[in-house]
Protein backbone atom coordinates (compact mmCIF):
# COMPACT_ATOMS: atom_id res chain seq x y z
CA UNK A 1 0.00 0.00 0.00
CA UNK A 2 2.79 2.36 0.93
CA UNK A 3 4.50 1.55 -2.36
CA UNK A 4 1.41 2.26 -4.42
CA UNK A 5 0.92 5.51 -2.50
CA UNK A 6 4.47 6.52 -3.35
CA UNK A 7 3.91 5.66 -7.03
CA UNK A 8 0.80 7.79 -7.02
CA UNK A 9 2.65 10.64 -5.34
CA UNK A 10 5.45 10.34 -7.89
CA UNK A 11 2.95 10.70 -10.71
CA UNK A 12 1.52 13.80 -9.13
CA UNK A 13 4.76 15.56 -8.31
CA UNK A 14 7.54 15.47 -10.87
CA UNK A 15 10.56 17.69 -10.30
CA UNK A 16 12.30 18.27 -13.58
CA UNK A 17 15.92 19.19 -14.12
CA UNK A 18 16.81 20.84 -17.34
CA UNK A 19 20.09 20.02 -19.06
CA UNK A 20 21.35 21.49 -22.29
CA UNK A 21 23.96 19.48 -24.17
CA UNK A 22 24.85 21.71 -27.06
CA UNK A 23 21.40 22.75 -28.14
CA UNK A 24 20.66 25.89 -30.11
CA UNK A 25 18.85 27.14 -26.98
CA UNK A 26 15.46 27.24 -28.62
CA UNK A 27 14.27 24.03 -27.01
CA UNK A 28 15.32 25.40 -23.62
CA UNK A 29 13.20 28.49 -24.15
CA UNK A 30 10.26 26.31 -25.10
CA UNK A 31 10.70 24.29 -21.89
CA UNK A 32 10.50 27.50 -19.89
CA UNK A 33 7.37 28.35 -21.85
CA UNK A 34 5.64 25.44 -20.13
CA UNK A 35 5.97 27.31 -16.82
CA UNK A 36 4.34 30.50 -18.06
CA UNK A 37 0.72 31.39 -17.22
CA UNK A 38 -0.52 30.07 -20.55
CA UNK A 39 0.51 26.46 -19.91
CA UNK A 40 1.30 26.49 -16.17
CA UNK A 41 2.45 22.93 -15.61
CA UNK A 42 2.70 23.59 -11.87
CA UNK A 43 -0.99 22.73 -11.69
CA UNK A 44 0.06 19.14 -12.46
CA UNK A 45 2.71 19.32 -9.77
CA UNK A 46 5.63 19.69 -12.15
CA UNK A 47 8.27 22.11 -10.92
CA UNK A 48 11.70 23.05 -12.13
CA UNK A 49 14.40 21.88 -9.72
CA UNK A 50 17.64 23.78 -9.34
CA UNK A 51 19.75 20.75 -8.54
CA UNK A 52 19.77 17.33 -10.16
CA UNK A 53 19.70 15.73 -6.70
CA UNK A 54 16.14 16.96 -6.28
CA UNK A 55 14.97 15.86 -9.69
CA UNK A 56 12.84 12.98 -10.92
CA UNK A 57 13.08 13.77 -14.61
CA UNK A 58 16.09 14.82 -16.64
CA UNK A 59 15.00 16.96 -19.58
CA UNK A 60 17.84 16.83 -22.09
CA UNK A 61 18.05 19.09 -25.11
CA UNK A 62 20.76 19.20 -27.75
CA UNK A 63 22.86 16.66 -29.59
CA UNK A 64 25.21 15.64 -26.81
CA UNK A 65 28.57 17.04 -27.89
CA UNK A 66 31.91 15.30 -27.36
CA UNK A 67 32.67 17.61 -24.47
CA UNK A 68 29.36 16.90 -22.83
CA UNK A 69 29.27 13.10 -22.77
CA UNK A 70 31.01 12.81 -19.41
CA UNK A 71 28.74 15.39 -17.78
CA UNK A 72 25.59 13.81 -19.08
CA UNK A 73 26.62 10.41 -17.75
CA UNK A 74 27.59 11.87 -14.37
CA UNK A 75 24.36 13.79 -14.03
CA UNK A 76 22.39 10.70 -14.93
CA UNK A 77 24.17 8.74 -12.22
CA UNK A 78 23.66 11.51 -9.68
CA UNK A 79 19.92 11.66 -10.20
CA UNK A 80 18.27 9.75 -7.33
CA UNK A 81 16.28 6.76 -8.58
CA UNK A 82 13.48 6.26 -9.60
CA UNK A 83 14.33 8.79 -12.28
CA UNK A 84 13.47 9.24 -15.93
CA UNK A 85 15.09 10.77 -18.96
CA UNK A 86 13.22 12.74 -21.59
CA UNK A 87 14.87 13.68 -24.87
CA UNK A 88 13.50 17.00 -26.05
CA UNK A 89 13.82 18.20 -29.63
CA UNK A 90 14.94 16.58 -32.84
CA UNK A 91 18.54 17.15 -31.81
CA UNK A 92 18.31 14.94 -28.74
CA UNK A 93 16.18 12.34 -30.50
CA UNK A 94 18.17 11.85 -33.70
CA UNK A 95 20.78 14.55 -34.08
CA UNK A 96 18.52 16.70 -36.20
CA UNK A 97 20.24 19.18 -38.42
CA UNK A 98 23.50 18.82 -36.52
CA UNK A 99 23.80 15.08 -37.15
CA UNK A 100 26.89 15.51 -39.36
CA UNK A 101 28.58 18.04 -37.11
CA UNK A 102 32.14 17.32 -36.01
CA UNK A 103 31.25 17.55 -32.32
CA UNK A 104 28.33 15.16 -32.63
CA UNK A 105 28.55 12.32 -30.11
CA UNK A 106 24.88 11.57 -29.67
CA UNK A 107 22.05 11.15 -30.20
CA UNK A 108 21.16 10.98 -26.55
CA UNK A 109 20.14 7.32 -26.42
CA UNK A 110 23.69 6.34 -27.34
CA UNK A 111 24.87 7.96 -24.09
CA UNK A 112 22.17 7.20 -21.51
CA UNK A 113 18.88 5.25 -21.61
CA UNK A 114 15.95 7.44 -22.67
CA UNK A 115 12.33 6.94 -21.58
CA UNK A 116 10.44 9.39 -23.76
CA UNK A 117 11.29 11.10 -27.04
CA UNK A 118 9.65 14.40 -27.91
CA UNK A 119 10.53 15.35 -31.51
CA UNK A 120 10.12 18.78 -33.03
CA UNK A 121 12.44 21.64 -33.79
CA UNK A 122 11.59 22.98 -31.27
CA UNK A 123 8.65 20.93 -29.97
CA UNK A 124 5.64 22.98 -28.94
CA UNK A 125 4.84 23.19 -25.22
CA UNK A 126 1.69 21.18 -25.96
CA UNK A 127 3.86 18.43 -27.41
CA UNK A 128 6.04 18.46 -24.31
CA UNK A 129 3.03 18.17 -22.04
CA UNK A 130 1.74 15.29 -24.18
CA UNK A 131 5.14 13.62 -23.84
CA UNK A 132 5.12 14.02 -20.07
CA UNK A 133 1.64 12.50 -19.96
CA UNK A 134 2.96 9.50 -21.89
CA UNK A 135 5.78 9.24 -19.36
CA UNK A 136 3.28 9.34 -16.49
CA UNK A 137 1.20 6.60 -18.09
CA UNK A 138 4.29 4.45 -18.47
CA UNK A 139 5.00 4.53 -14.71
CA UNK A 140 3.58 1.27 -13.45
Amino acid sequence: MVLSLRKKALKKSLFVFHLSTGSCNNCDIEILDCLTPRFDIERFGITLAGSVKHADVLLVTGIGTLKNIERVKKLYQQMPKPGFVVAIGSCACTGGMFRDGYTMAGPLDKIIPVDVYIPGCPPKPEAMIAGIVKLLNSIK
Binding site: A9, L10, S13, P37, E42, R43, G50, K53, P80
Partner: protein, 302 residues
Protein backbone atom coordinates in the same frame (compact mmCIF):
# COMPACT_ATOMS: atom_id res chain seq x y z
CA UNK B 1 2.75 10.97 34.31
CA UNK B 2 4.16 14.37 33.54
CA UNK B 3 6.63 12.80 31.12
CA UNK B 4 3.85 11.12 29.17
CA UNK B 5 2.00 14.41 29.03
CA UNK B 6 5.07 16.28 27.80
CA UNK B 7 5.68 13.59 25.20
CA UNK B 8 2.07 13.93 24.10
CA UNK B 9 2.42 17.70 23.77
CA UNK B 10 5.55 17.33 21.63
CA UNK B 11 3.95 14.70 19.39
CA UNK B 12 0.81 16.82 19.12
CA UNK B 13 2.90 19.83 18.22
CA UNK B 14 4.62 17.81 15.48
CA UNK B 15 1.34 16.75 13.91
CA UNK B 16 -0.55 20.01 14.33
CA UNK B 17 2.22 22.30 13.16
CA UNK B 18 3.27 19.83 10.49
CA UNK B 19 -0.20 19.73 8.97
CA UNK B 20 -0.76 23.48 9.30
CA UNK B 21 2.69 24.10 7.88
CA UNK B 22 2.14 21.87 4.86
CA UNK B 23 -1.17 23.58 4.16
CA UNK B 24 0.43 27.00 4.63
CA UNK B 25 3.13 26.02 2.18
CA UNK B 26 0.44 25.09 -0.32
CA UNK B 27 -1.41 28.36 0.34
CA UNK B 28 1.80 30.20 -0.37
CA UNK B 29 2.28 28.38 -3.69
CA UNK B 30 -1.32 28.85 -4.71
CA UNK B 31 -1.39 32.55 -3.88
CA UNK B 32 1.92 33.04 -5.67
CA UNK B 33 0.46 31.31 -8.71
CA UNK B 34 -2.65 33.50 -8.64
CA UNK B 35 -0.51 36.63 -8.34
CA UNK B 36 1.38 35.48 -11.44
CA UNK B 37 -1.90 34.87 -13.25
CA UNK B 38 -1.51 31.08 -13.11
CA UNK B 39 -3.80 28.39 -11.75
CA UNK B 40 -1.41 26.85 -9.26
CA UNK B 41 -1.17 23.42 -7.68
CA UNK B 42 -4.07 21.54 -6.03
CA UNK B 43 -4.32 21.44 -2.25
CA UNK B 44 -2.62 18.07 -1.78
CA UNK B 45 0.44 19.07 -3.77
CA UNK B 46 2.81 19.42 -0.81
CA UNK B 47 1.65 16.10 0.65
CA UNK B 48 2.38 14.45 -2.71
CA UNK B 49 5.82 16.09 -2.84
CA UNK B 50 6.61 14.92 0.67
CA UNK B 51 5.46 11.32 0.15
CA UNK B 52 7.27 11.11 -3.15
CA UNK B 53 10.52 12.38 -1.64
CA UNK B 54 10.39 9.81 1.17
CA UNK B 55 10.29 7.08 -1.47
CA UNK B 56 13.33 8.23 -3.37
CA UNK B 57 16.95 7.24 -3.09
CA UNK B 58 19.03 9.31 -0.65
CA UNK B 59 22.39 10.09 -2.18
CA UNK B 60 25.20 11.02 0.22
CA UNK B 61 28.01 12.79 -1.65
CA UNK B 62 31.56 11.50 -1.39
CA UNK B 63 33.20 14.47 0.30
CA UNK B 64 30.43 14.94 2.85
CA UNK B 65 30.54 14.49 6.58
CA UNK B 66 27.90 11.77 6.77
CA UNK B 67 26.77 12.27 10.33
CA UNK B 68 26.37 16.05 10.15
CA UNK B 69 24.86 15.80 6.68
CA UNK B 70 22.03 13.60 7.91
CA UNK B 71 21.72 15.11 11.39
CA UNK B 72 21.26 18.72 10.24
CA UNK B 73 17.64 18.50 9.04
CA UNK B 74 16.67 16.37 12.05
CA UNK B 75 18.10 18.98 14.44
CA UNK B 76 16.15 21.68 12.66
CA UNK B 77 12.91 19.73 12.86
CA UNK B 78 13.40 18.95 16.54
CA UNK B 79 14.04 22.62 17.33
CA UNK B 80 10.96 23.85 15.49
CA UNK B 81 8.73 21.13 16.95
CA UNK B 82 9.91 21.91 20.48
CA UNK B 83 9.22 25.60 19.85
CA UNK B 84 5.69 24.65 18.85
CA UNK B 85 5.35 22.46 21.94
CA UNK B 86 6.41 25.35 24.16
CA UNK B 87 3.82 27.57 22.50
CA UNK B 88 1.10 24.95 23.05
CA UNK B 89 2.05 24.11 26.60
CA UNK B 90 2.49 27.79 27.45
CA UNK B 91 -1.03 28.56 26.36
CA UNK B 92 -2.77 25.46 27.76
CA UNK B 93 -0.67 23.44 30.21
CA UNK B 94 2.54 24.61 31.83
CA UNK B 95 3.35 28.32 31.44
CA UNK B 96 7.11 28.78 31.78
CA UNK B 97 8.56 31.86 33.38
CA UNK B 98 11.24 32.46 30.71
CA UNK B 99 9.73 30.86 27.65
CA UNK B 100 10.32 33.87 25.41
CA UNK B 101 14.08 33.52 25.88
CA UNK B 102 13.88 29.79 25.15
CA UNK B 103 11.83 30.45 22.02
CA UNK B 104 14.34 33.00 20.75
CA UNK B 105 17.14 30.47 21.21
CA UNK B 106 15.20 27.61 19.65
CA UNK B 107 14.24 29.67 16.62
CA UNK B 108 17.95 30.19 15.92
CA UNK B 109 18.61 26.48 15.54
CA UNK B 110 16.95 25.98 12.11
CA UNK B 111 19.23 28.63 10.59
CA UNK B 112 22.25 27.01 12.21
CA UNK B 113 21.17 23.63 10.92
CA UNK B 114 20.97 25.06 7.40
CA UNK B 115 24.50 26.42 7.78
CA UNK B 116 25.72 23.01 8.99
CA UNK B 117 23.91 21.31 6.12
CA UNK B 118 25.61 23.52 3.59
CA UNK B 119 29.04 23.27 5.16
CA UNK B 120 28.95 19.50 5.61
CA UNK B 121 27.83 18.52 2.13
CA UNK B 122 31.19 18.99 0.47
CA UNK B 123 29.90 21.00 -2.46
CA UNK B 124 31.20 24.38 -3.57
CA UNK B 125 27.78 25.88 -4.17
CA UNK B 126 26.57 24.59 -0.82
CA UNK B 127 29.48 26.16 1.03
CA UNK B 128 28.89 29.49 -0.69
CA UNK B 129 25.27 29.15 0.40
CA UNK B 130 26.34 28.32 3.95
CA UNK B 131 28.50 31.44 4.09
CA UNK B 132 25.65 33.57 2.85
CA UNK B 133 23.23 31.98 5.32
CA UNK B 134 25.63 32.79 8.15
CA UNK B 135 25.78 36.45 7.10
CA UNK B 136 22.03 36.49 6.68
CA UNK B 137 21.68 35.02 10.18
CA UNK B 138 23.91 37.74 11.65
CA UNK B 139 21.97 40.46 9.90
CA UNK B 140 18.36 39.56 10.76
CA UNK B 141 18.85 38.23 14.29
CA UNK B 142 19.43 41.65 15.87
CA UNK B 143 16.22 43.32 14.59
CA UNK B 144 14.27 40.12 15.31
CA UNK B 145 15.27 40.18 18.97
CA UNK B 146 14.67 43.94 19.18
CA UNK B 147 11.16 43.45 17.81
CA UNK B 148 10.41 40.71 20.34
CA UNK B 149 11.78 42.90 23.12
CA UNK B 150 9.14 45.59 22.63
CA UNK B 151 6.25 43.81 24.44
CA UNK B 152 8.72 42.79 27.16
CA UNK B 153 9.59 46.42 27.75
CA UNK B 154 5.94 47.40 27.71
CA UNK B 155 4.57 44.67 29.98
CA UNK B 156 7.66 43.89 32.02
CA UNK B 157 7.50 40.11 31.70
CA UNK B 158 9.15 37.45 29.55
CA UNK B 159 6.35 34.94 29.91
CA UNK B 160 4.41 34.53 26.66
CA UNK B 161 1.20 33.40 28.40
CA UNK B 162 1.38 36.42 30.70
CA UNK B 163 1.83 38.75 27.72
CA UNK B 164 -1.24 37.21 26.06
CA UNK B 165 -3.25 37.76 29.23
CA UNK B 166 -2.13 41.37 29.52
CA UNK B 167 -3.02 41.94 25.87
CA UNK B 168 -6.55 40.86 26.68
CA UNK B 169 -6.70 43.19 29.66
CA UNK B 170 -5.32 46.25 27.85
CA UNK B 171 -5.06 46.19 24.09
CA UNK B 172 -3.39 43.83 21.61
CA UNK B 173 0.22 44.71 20.91
CA UNK B 174 -0.60 45.62 17.33
CA UNK B 175 -2.86 48.35 18.64
CA UNK B 176 0.03 50.35 20.06
CA UNK B 177 2.30 52.34 17.76
CA UNK B 178 5.37 50.63 19.18
CA UNK B 179 3.82 47.18 18.77
CA UNK B 180 2.79 48.03 15.22
CA UNK B 181 6.32 48.97 14.21
CA UNK B 182 7.77 45.98 16.07
CA UNK B 183 5.36 43.62 14.31
CA UNK B 184 6.52 44.68 10.87
CA UNK B 185 10.18 44.64 11.86
CA UNK B 186 9.67 41.15 13.29
CA UNK B 187 7.82 39.87 10.22
CA UNK B 188 10.54 41.10 7.86
CA UNK B 189 13.26 39.58 10.05
CA UNK B 190 11.26 36.35 10.19
CA UNK B 191 11.19 36.24 6.41
CA UNK B 192 14.96 36.14 6.56
CA UNK B 193 14.68 33.21 8.96
CA UNK B 194 12.56 31.13 6.60
CA UNK B 195 14.55 32.34 3.60
CA UNK B 196 11.68 33.83 1.64
CA UNK B 197 12.31 35.85 -1.40
CA UNK B 198 13.86 39.17 -0.57
CA UNK B 199 16.22 37.17 1.66
CA UNK B 200 16.68 33.94 -0.27
CA UNK B 201 20.35 34.50 -1.09
CA UNK B 202 21.43 31.25 0.54
CA UNK B 203 19.10 29.15 -1.60
CA UNK B 204 19.13 31.27 -4.74
CA UNK B 205 17.92 28.82 -7.38
CA UNK B 206 19.15 30.86 -10.30
CA UNK B 207 22.71 31.45 -9.15
CA UNK B 208 23.56 28.72 -6.64
CA UNK B 209 21.43 25.87 -8.06
CA UNK B 210 19.75 25.28 -4.70
CA UNK B 211 22.46 26.68 -2.44
CA UNK B 212 22.74 25.07 0.95
CA UNK B 213 20.49 22.11 0.13
CA UNK B 214 21.94 21.38 -3.30
CA UNK B 215 23.21 17.93 -2.31
CA UNK B 216 20.14 16.79 -0.43
CA UNK B 217 17.89 14.17 -1.98
CA UNK B 218 15.17 11.75 -1.03
CA UNK B 219 14.25 11.54 2.64
CA UNK B 220 16.74 14.17 3.82
CA UNK B 221 15.33 16.70 1.37
CA UNK B 222 11.83 15.81 2.52
CA UNK B 223 12.90 16.50 6.11
CA UNK B 224 14.32 19.87 5.08
CA UNK B 225 11.08 20.80 3.37
CA UNK B 226 9.16 19.69 6.44
CA UNK B 227 11.41 21.83 8.61
CA UNK B 228 10.68 24.89 6.47
CA UNK B 229 6.95 24.24 6.64
CA UNK B 230 6.91 23.69 10.41
CA UNK B 231 9.04 26.79 10.90
CA UNK B 232 6.57 28.77 8.81
CA UNK B 233 3.54 27.66 10.82
CA UNK B 234 5.26 27.92 14.22
CA UNK B 235 6.62 31.37 13.40
CA UNK B 236 3.30 32.74 12.23
CA UNK B 237 1.49 31.24 15.22
CA UNK B 238 4.07 32.84 17.47
CA UNK B 239 3.46 36.22 15.87
CA UNK B 240 -0.30 35.79 16.23
CA UNK B 241 0.08 34.87 19.89
CA UNK B 242 2.68 37.47 20.69
CA UNK B 243 1.43 40.51 18.81
CA UNK B 244 -2.21 39.89 18.00
CA UNK B 245 -3.69 38.43 21.16
CA UNK B 246 -3.52 34.74 20.39
CA UNK B 247 -6.02 32.05 19.49
CA UNK B 248 -8.44 32.46 22.41
CA UNK B 249 -11.25 32.73 19.87
CA UNK B 250 -10.42 29.94 17.36
CA UNK B 251 -12.20 31.40 14.33
CA UNK B 252 -10.72 34.86 14.80
CA UNK B 253 -7.37 33.22 15.57
CA UNK B 254 -7.37 31.33 12.27
CA UNK B 255 -8.32 34.52 10.44
CA UNK B 256 -5.38 36.30 12.08
CA UNK B 257 -3.10 33.44 11.06
CA UNK B 258 -4.24 33.63 7.43
CA UNK B 259 -3.85 37.41 7.45
CA UNK B 260 -0.22 37.20 8.56
CA UNK B 261 0.42 34.45 6.02
CA UNK B 262 -1.05 36.58 3.22
CA UNK B 263 1.10 39.51 4.33
CA UNK B 264 4.23 37.35 4.16
CA UNK B 265 3.33 35.95 0.74
CA UNK B 266 2.61 39.44 -0.61
CA UNK B 267 5.96 40.75 0.62
CA UNK B 268 7.57 37.68 -0.92
CA UNK B 269 5.97 38.22 -4.31
CA UNK B 270 6.49 41.92 -4.68
CA UNK B 271 10.19 42.13 -3.90
CA UNK B 272 13.26 41.07 -5.84
CA UNK B 273 16.10 39.18 -4.21
CA UNK B 274 18.57 41.42 -2.38
CA UNK B 275 22.32 41.01 -2.45
CA UNK B 276 23.87 39.99 0.85
CA UNK B 277 25.50 43.40 1.41
CA UNK B 278 22.19 45.12 0.74
CA UNK B 279 20.53 42.82 3.28
CA UNK B 280 23.18 43.64 5.87
CA UNK B 281 22.80 47.37 5.26
CA UNK B 282 19.01 47.16 5.35
CA UNK B 283 18.79 45.06 8.52
CA UNK B 284 21.46 46.81 10.54
CA UNK B 285 20.32 50.18 9.24
CA UNK B 286 16.60 50.58 8.77
CA UNK B 287 15.28 47.53 10.60
CA UNK B 288 17.48 47.99 13.66
CA UNK B 289 16.70 51.70 13.74
CA UNK B 290 12.98 51.05 13.65
CA UNK B 291 13.37 48.34 16.28
CA UNK B 292 15.20 50.72 18.64
CA UNK B 293 12.63 53.42 17.93
CA UNK B 294 9.84 50.98 18.84
CA UNK B 295 11.58 50.10 22.09
CA UNK B 296 11.89 53.78 22.99
CA UNK B 297 8.19 54.25 22.18
CA UNK B 298 7.33 51.21 24.32
CA UNK B 299 9.35 52.60 27.22
CA UNK B 300 7.43 55.87 26.87
CA UNK B 301 4.23 53.86 26.96
CA UNK B 302 2.70 54.40 23.51
Amino acid sequence: MAIIKIFGIVAGSFFIFGLIGIMSGWFDRKLTARIQWRVGPPWWQNFADFIKLTGKETVIPEGANQFLFLAAPVAGIVATVVTGAILISGSFFYPLKWDLIIIIYLLMIPSISIVIAGASSGNVLASVGAGRELKLFLSYELPFILALLVPVVKFGTTEVAEIVKLQHIYRINLGYLSGFIAFFVGIIAFMGKIGYVPFDVSEAETELAAGTIVEYSGLSLALFKLMKWILLSVGISFFVIYFMGGFSNPVVGILKYILVLILIVLIKNTNPRLRIDQILKFSWGWLTMFGLFAIVLAALGC
